[in-house]
Amino acid sequence: MPTSRRDFLKASVLASSLLFVPKFLHALDRQGLQPLRNSNGRRLVVVQLGGGNDGLNTIIPYRNDEYYKARPTLGIREQSGILTLGQDLGFNPAMTQLKGLYDQGKVGILNAVGYPNPDRSHFRSMDVWQSASDSDKYVGTGWLGRYLDATCSDGHLPYTGLELDDTLSLAMKGNLRKGLSLKNPEKFHQLTQNRFIAQVSREKASAASGSELDYLYKTLAETASSAEYLYQTSKVYKSGVAYPNTEFGKSLKTTAELINSGIDSRVFYVSLTGFDTHVRQQEQQGRLLGDLSSGLGSFTEDLQKAGNLDDTLILVFSEFGRRVSQNASNGTDHGTANNVLLLGGGLKQQGILNAAPDLLNLDQGDLRYQLDFRSIYATVLRDWLGADDQLILGREFARLPGLV
């Protein structure tokens, strides 16, 4: 990766922390708003690693003595198969498919992503990432939900944002619009086919009143018609790609089948949990990263075959990284800044996009963040989905120019 680009990105990272964007740029942005509202057929797939994935053993600084000093037994050695990426960083040995994608120029790695005054509680930190709030503010909506609020017309149906799960995350809840959660189209469709519920769902909400009762009837009607649409559409394409036989693999397969069937959804949300590795981390994390890597390997292959990878951006995050030092149980405790991975055929910049975390400049044993995660959200919202990032995030975060 040429130095100049790295410097440029570094500068933009600095700008983000200072909110240093000239006023005239805002004006330009506003003029360009209308045409940007259409996402041009692009879609976003967010992958949430629940439990706090240890970034330092995911993107490993294998030439850094500080890393091995802090992790005498938990540090992964080069000879155990680190998949080297350049700049003295390498993927965890379990991430072979992701290494393949990296070599094809389909992966971007952002290091030391976080936010000021990080919170080490799982649920609070996940709240912060999902709502895109400051760590001392409480926001009852999610960043993708507000994207739905900002971009969906009245004709919107909840499947514009889809979560592959039984319940809906905060990330997908807006003030006016919410995403739809389902494990798979058949089961969800069945639910709405319960005879009584199906009959009730055919009742019309009275258009004008806007009462709570009408809201409930409208939500029910939208749910039923979305279930019908998803069920019928999902039959168009059945995947021939082999996926790992895990929950995560199944969710990605369902997602790929929906995308390749031509479903009109903009945002997908998939989770992989179990990263809370306080004890005997190596085996557990290796298994999970293998699951992540092979799942995403199959997923991207599936999309590529159908010609849909260039329009798809995948964003992988976790609520926090782990402490730099290993603990007494060969695990790691809750930490702060972490990696974010971007994948897709439409990435304009690939590889390692900013400096590796600085292990000599820690905050009481924790990484200091270099890049606010909301700069990534702003970039994705504006430059990828063509949405109004400031409206959705509530203020300006400097974007990473030329990234997507």
């Binding site: 629940g50 739809l180 709570e212 409930l216 939500t219 809370d276």
Partner: protein, 512 residues
Amino acid sequence: MTSQQQLQHLYWRAGFGPRPQDVKAGSSPRKVWHQLLQNSQVFEPLTGPAPPPNEPQLVMSAAPAAGTPQSSMITTPDQTQRQGMIPAAGGAAQMQAGSVGQMRRRELTPAQRKQRNLEIRSAFYAMNTGWLNRMATSPAQLREKLTFFWHGHFACRVRQPEAALQLNNTIRRLALGKFSELLLAVSQEAAMLQFLNNQQNRKQRPNENFAREVMELFTLGRGHYTEQDVKEAARAFTGWGADAQNRFVFRAKLHDDGPKTFLGHTGNFGGEDILRIILEQPQTAEFITTKLYRFFVNDTPNPAHIKLLAQEFYKSQYNISGLLERIFLADWFYAAPNVGTRIKSPVELLAGMKRTFGVQLADDRPLVVFQKALGQTLFQPPNVAGWPGGRSWIDSSSLLYRLQLPSVLFKNAEFRVALKDDENDIAPQLSRADRTFQQSVQTTVKLAPVRELLAQTPAPQQAAQLADFVLQTPIRPDSLALVQTAAASAPDESRLRTLVTALLSLPEYQLM
């Protein structure tokens, strides 16, 4: 509006809904209000699982316990084993091995830590379902409803069940009294001091979290204090902490006793002074009144109502029952815009079904699963701001779960959901199998009072009459037709059950 509808409205808002006998007797809202108040005079603490032998009893700051603890709170071991959700947790078995309970987490071996996690989860399940059952059965409806309101207002989420239970009982004890006393007591609770980091608030390095939230979320609301006020208040709260038995302690050595200037007052303030000054601001009365109004009356506050109520609340030195009496006896409380227009929270929905129809589960644990699937779990608010409420309860999947629930409770239909990992933060890292619930639920219901309510009504009108009792908003004609068709196709012996199930499965029933 008929007087029956008025009574039902009051029972829903001041408690967890009416039972058939409550409206059959006929009365006036005024009489019912005084009855509710009377029945809520007694304070009975919620109890947790029995402590293990050879360990001190839980220290309750809420000492004056009236009545006996409910033994139904205790999860019995056989209930635990019957069901797959929680492996090897619960009751007596858990507590014999419970000696790890009081040890510091980092001193535990991995096996002990796992054991402790199981104990914690089991204790929270017992507290959760014990409270939900109490909401459904307790005569002290008003006290439990107010406890539930303050549970969302003073939202707090800690890992220690003992501390969470103690806070809950402090709130229950003071829920109907003076807000000033409630505020001080909650501010000195171990759970709150820990949750908002006041344990780390010391002279040399003030931690502002507690001071900030006390003003932003508990009393004044954002915009009525400055960042400087937060800093000064934080200094005044230095030294407030709790000991290992969850008792409030003032650690004088950690306290900054220098002069502070807070909201225009200057002095060598301590925490009590800060709370007193906050309560001197009429804005605090307005903020609390607005929040109570939004919960008990309408999500969209009426400024004229609020202004008068807040003034009287302030004048009464924050008398909570007095404020509620003004609300519940006001004519506007029974006006159409305030009746049947509020979306029930998941806990209100569940407790209401249990109360009105005497629903009991053979094993209570699914009650926690329902709460999680619907998005509101007692003792686990999402953050210190509490549950946002209103339309935020409703999305495609939560609405479908809500509409399915009556069939699960009344007709043993299967409930099926995989819960998210973050919803189990108390003890994370459950396998997917442990997070997946897929079974029918064994229940008993009491339909005799409903049958009695309908005894004088000819069969063709029964659906409409039952709708008047079950629903707080007029049933849509199309929905009534659907309910009648469903009942007509049911055999005689299950006709009433089918009627009830159908009415409860309507969007109308989501409102109160």
